[in-house]
């Protein structure tokens, strides 16, 4: 066995896992505190450094939660598929962790051998392929619980994830089209110097579509119908206790990180920021800061918006986001050709026209999909 290869692989992957696991713990704390403050209450603030009385604003809460989940009894329902019950949380965690490797984070300790495995030419499409495995894990979880509500939650979750994958991929296609490569590192490099894709009209529309679809992919509010407590207790992971639930939780948050990371790579410049000429490793800090900004917006949206009903959810994906993203590709295609002409006047005109088209289309689709208000019909109450 080639030891150098092994060590290179370990150097590339282990720090990533450690960093993101720590960030996961911090994010759970941040989410609880931020949601609490939005909801006029204080979040957890008692658990600080363990075995002492020092409560550092509740920063020890994730550790306490982790220890609690480790010690909980692992209950498998009778008649449930034991093998799948065990495999589902693992299958939920693996894709999320795997796609973290495709993000163009150039840590200072990586030499060119260790990143060679992950700087694939098709990194972006690998990302989407592996994120699609999350749907399988959700389905397996719902099926293996032998609980009809879990199964229902699982099927709804799979339907939602599959429906929102299309706008997700189509809005990434725009960026790939503009850059001309599927390589994540190249896409990030094409945006240096504050030339981010989010600053162009089609890029901004694509970013908004991508972000909303990312919220739906990771089952975050307002798309968290499959795991809503007041609807279906916990949906597809109702029957999971203890560490398996912790693995699901971990998988969901790491998926959030991964998709935010892809959004940052594709649209927000991916590591671009001031001070890069002086300290090259500052790009990692900027990348993580941007990921955190997106996570903060996700938490903010969770505290703001009510949950979407399942038919509203599916209608939104197929009737609004899909036509808009296809139109966006068309507009971006024309804009690319216009930019090839290298004439500022034409570029400005293109921007204005594309802005108008996209905004008009979005408003038009909104009006088209606005449900007509009718008096309510009762099926059983007459």
């Amino acid at each position: 066995m080639n030891f150098e290869l092994l060590i290179d692989i370990l150097i590339a992957t282990v720090p990533l896992m450690l960093i993101f696991a720590t960030l996961f713990a911090f994010t759970t704390w941040l989410e609880r505190k931020a949601l609490a403050r939005i909801q006029n209450r204080i979040g957890p603030n008692k658990v600080g450094i363990p075995c002492t009385r020092i409560s550092l604003f509740g920063l020890g809460q994730p550790a306490a939660d982790g220890i609690k989940m480790l010690f909980k009894e692992d209950i498998v329902p009778r008649g449930a598929d034991r093998l799948f019950h065990l495999l589902a949380p693992i299958l939920a965690l693996i894709p999320s962790m795997l796609v973290l490797c495709f993000l163009p984070l150039d840590f200072p300790w990586l030499n060119e051998n260790s990143v060679k495995a992950f700087l694939l030419d098709g990194a972006v499409i690998f990302f989407f392929a592996i994120t699609g495995l999350n749907t399988l894990a959700v389905f397996m979880a719902g099926w293996a619980s032998r609980n009809k509500y879990s199964l229902l939650g699982g099927m709804r979750a799979v339907a939602q994830m599959v429906s929102y994958e299309i706008p997700l991929v189509l809005s990434a296609v725009i960026v790939v089209m503009m850059v001309g490569s599927l390589n994540a590192a190249e896409i990030a490099k094409a945006q240096t110097g504050w030339d981010w894709f989010v600053f162009s009209p089609w890029g901004f529309a694509a970013f908004v579509i991508f972000f909303i679809a990312a919220l739906a992919e990771t089952n975050r509010s307002p798309f968290d119908l499959p795991e809503a407590e007041s609807e279906i207790i916990a949906g597809y992971f109702t029957e999971y206790s203890g560490f398996k639930f912790a693995l699901f939780f971990l998988g969901e948050y790491i998926a959030m990180f991964a998709i935010s990371g892809l959004a940052v790579t594709l649209f927000l410049g991916g590591g671009d920021g001031p001070g890069l000429a002086v300290l090259p490793w500052l790009s990692v800090i900027w990348f993580l800061a941007k990921i955190f900004a997106l996570i903060a917006v996700m938490i903010w949206l969770r505290g703001t918006l009510p949950r979407l009903r399942v038919d509203q959810l599916m209608g939104f994906a197929w009737k609004f986001m899909l036509p808009l993203s296809i139109l966006n590709i068309l507009v971006a295609g024309f804009a690319w050709h216009a930019e090839q002409l290298d004439n500022t006047f034409i570029t400005v005109i293109t921007w204005v026209i594309s802005l108008a088209i996209l905004y008009g289309a979005a408003s038009g689709l909104n009006q088209l999909n606005r449900g007509k208000v009718r008096p309510r019909e009762y099926k059983y109450a007459e």
Binding site: L120, D121, F126, F128, A129, I130, G132, L136, L151
Partner: protein, 173 residues
């Protein structure tokens, strides 16, 4: 050397997945074993340095076709799970003969030592080449395939709407 080990491991995964998929009584287990087979195939594509095809294999087969199969099994009553019935297969001898024959025929290029075709070295397996080839000269094929898929989609929606199945997501009440 590493590639050989990888090839054997991936092939073993693929073959085992396929065997389990056809032999398992429990349909859901069978479908998941089929998905393992697809994953093994994707790994084999990676070994051939066709990254795009490997990714698309995972995306389409595992992510879409696999989920489709699972949904189909789930929505059909009493097909999922193991119902304990044992099927008798009376033509198993001739089936085995045909399977061995197909296997030998497929192995023939590997057994005979044919000279490698020269054109193979000139193919650039990158996505850019694939895109160029799809746009010209294979653009008509692409459009026909797209039309076919659209027709299939519309047909599926029509077929689904024609049969009055009770909706499983009735969350209005």
């Amino acid at each position: 050397m590493n590639e050989e080990i990888a090839f054997w491991i991936l092939s073993a995964i693929a073959v085992l997945g396929a065997l389990v998929a056809v032999r398992k009584r429990n349909l859901i287990h069978g479908v998941f074993a089929l998905l393992v087979f697809f994953a093994g195939l994707s790994g084999l594509f990676l070994l051939l340095l066709a990254e795009f095809i490997a990714a698309v294999q995972v995306l389409v087969y595992i992510g879409a076709v696999g989920v489709l199969l699972l949904f189909a099994i789930m929505l059909t009553e009493r097909v999922a799970g193991d119902d304990g019935r044992r099927m008798t297969s009376r033509g198993s001898f001739w089936g085995l003969v045909v399977a061995v024959a197909v296997f030998v025929v497929l192995l023939l290029p590997a057994i005979q030592e044919l000279p490698p075709p020269e054109a193979a070295q000139a193919i650039d397996p990158s996505v850019k080449q694939l895109g160029h080839k799809l746009m010209n000269p294979y653009v008509v094929t692409l459009e026909v395939l797209a039309l076919l898929l659209t027709a299939a989609l519309i047909g599926a929606v029509t077929a689904a709407q024609g049969v009055r199945m009770p909706k499983e997501e009735d969350s209005q009440e």
